[in-house]
Amino acid sequence: MKIRVSREIIVALIAVVLGLAAGALFMLITGHNPFEGYTYLFRGGLMNIERIGNSLATATPLIMTGLSVAFAFRTGLFNIGASGQMLIGGLCATAVGLTLVLPQPLLLALMLLAAFCGGALWGLVPGFLKARFNVHEVVATIMMNWIAYWTVYYTVPAYFKGPYLETESRKIPEYASLKVPWLTGIFEGSYVNLGLFVALAAILVIGVILNRTVLGYQLKAAGFNRYASEYAGMNVQRNIILSMTIAGALAGIGGATLYVGYASNMQIGVLPSHGFDGIAVALLGSNTPIGVLGSALFFGILHSGKGFMNAMTEIPPEIGDTIIATIIYFAATSVLIENGLNALQRRFGQRRAQEEN
């Protein structure tokens, strides 16, 4: 078992290296210096305390969406709707933050709760359709994404319109933001916010649920073999609904960390890319909570460093997204990497055997 785990890490690292190599190739093709590009990319993510804080803040929603995708995946479900769940979670949190005036801890807790419920609802619908009618969750969550997109598109201007622009909501007041002065102070003015601690807590909670509870065992059993777990007397329908609901809730909280933590208002007409990046995070972290943390931090650095790289060189910031997308492709085709590793092992194994003779 131990060998298998370390092997997964090796495969993930190779996928990262291949993704970075592909990024270097694209920089070369377009006539840029990849060494310079990567130096500025990683300096932009890690150069000083403030930038490290920004990388953590960028990683926060990715941890949540990554957890969301990974959690559903363990039940054999593919949650491609984390973006929509984030939007609804963010909308609910923003609505509470702009409407209620309460003591700060209570208000923040209520906002997170609202985000939790909104996201959960957006996961519950596809989960229910899957369990009850066997509607494929991929298509259902894609539809839910666009329903969320248009819901925000019309709700924000109608009820929470900003003072200047039709296309964004009012700024949430300082007391309703997850960005608190003491934390911003520690990280010298970065975007890092309380969402980070929520995300770390979520990693713990999901880790415990998956590995230490009966529910987690049942969810994983349904993921391995739906029919076997049904035969063993587990309520698979309920578990599918529950799994999608929890996945949606996680992404919903991710939306709160983005829209009332990292940012302070909602823009309409944007489907956040974090939901799709979450698939990459989950895949690279082999669907374990710790793996999700590691890969989300890595993608956080890439995303927060790309702006600095763009400012210092002529390389367009989209290289960051290209690298992430390429890493997913290599993670999806990990069979190729595994075959390569096996071939290497065989060759070195033979040589060792020859040397021993």
């Binding site: 491609i80 598109y153 019309y154």
Partner: protein
């Protein structure tokens, strides 16, 4: 009401055609047994390639550049779809993840290249296709006004492809092989069909058609590449399911979505529709798809083996 319909009809058709051709591409892929969720990304690739070709060649060639751009988009879409084919046919990768990767790579990489070229990441074309009316047929009562005035040549091209696709799928040996690979690849394999080859052809078709779809958006109503096709690829996927994996079903489904989306877009200027909240109109196609999925869930015509990697040894 009639006046309103004749007014919005050309827009509805212009919106339907790229959906139709992309969905038709998805049909070939899924009927061969490969789920292609990367249609959105393949459309973006087509849109990018045609924008680049047309903006480059237009000064020298004039309007002929538009047709070369469409051809280039077909080739680029097919070439890009090879990534998905290789992953899902040769490497048994999870087809949904591979398709998602295609979407993300296409969206990021095309804007990356576009920024290197134009700085802003948008590529505009000077001139696209112009609308024209069909002589004689346009004078027919009723349908002449709806179908034969103000049409794009690409609309007729896509309808021709639709007919050809129907013939290919249902009336030729290739079509039978394609369908059998999507239903029961082991049986097809036992009958001597090269499942890998057929699946490659299916995915290549989806890439070529989606590329063409993206390019048609560019040369008909958008006129500018901006790194996205606004979810049309996903809507094409929904149409494929709504049309129950049949060419004529797809025609009906895409026209339904095209008409519904156009109505939503123009609802502000039509008094009768302005009363309905925009959200209802915009979310309508997606909600209807969810409902349709529920209704069809008992009698789904989905290819049995779609999404499953083919394994020689498995029986």
């Amino acid at each position: 009401m009639w006046a309103v319909i004749t007014q919005i009809f050309p827009y509805a058709i212009a919106f339907t055609v790229p959906l139709l051709i992309t969905s038709l591409g998805g049909l070939f892929s899924e009927r061969s047994g490969v789920v292609n969720i990367g249609l959105e990304g393949l459309m973006v690739v087509g849109s990018f390639t045609s924008a680049l070709t047309i903006s480059g060649l237009y000064p020298a060639m004039g309007s002929a550049a538009v047709w070369i751009g469409l051809g280039a988009a077909i080739l680029a879409g097919a070439a890009f779809s090879l990534l998905h084919a290789f992953a899902s046919i040769n490497l048994n990768a999870n087809q949904v993840i591979s398709g998602t990767a295609i979407n993300m790579i296409a969206g990021a990489l095309t804007v990356f290249f576009a920024r290197n070229i134009t700085g802003s990441g948008n590529i505009q074309i000077v001139s696209g296709l112009s609308r024209r009316s069909i002589p004689l047929l346009k004078d027919l009562p009723f349908i002449g006004r709806l179908f034969f005035t103000q049409t794009y040549t690409t609309t007729w091209l896509v309808l021709l492809i639709l007919l050809a696709a129907w013939f290919l799928i249902y009336k030729t040996p290739f079509g039978l092989r394609l369908r059998s690979c999507g239903e029961h690849p082991q049986a097809a394999d036992a009958a001597g069909v090269n499942v890998y080859l057929i699946r490659y052809i299916g995915v290549l078709f989806s890439g070529a058609f989606a590329g063409l779809g993206g390019a048609i958006i560019l040369v008909t109503y958008s006129g500018e590449f901006n790194g996205s096709v606004a979810g049309l690829g996903f809507l094409a996927l929904a149409s494929l399911i709504f049309g129950q994996w049949k060419p004529l079903g797809i025609l009906a489904a895409t026209f339904f979505f095209g008409f519904a989306s156009t109505v939503a877009n123009v609802s502000q200027v039509i008094p009768a529709l302005a009363l309905i909240p925009g959200l209802v109109l915009k979310a309508f196609p997606y909600v209807v798809t969810l409902i349709a999925l529920v209704i069809f869930s008992k009698s789904s015509q989905a290819p049995r083996a779609a999404g499953e990697p083919f394994d020689h040894g498995k029986r």
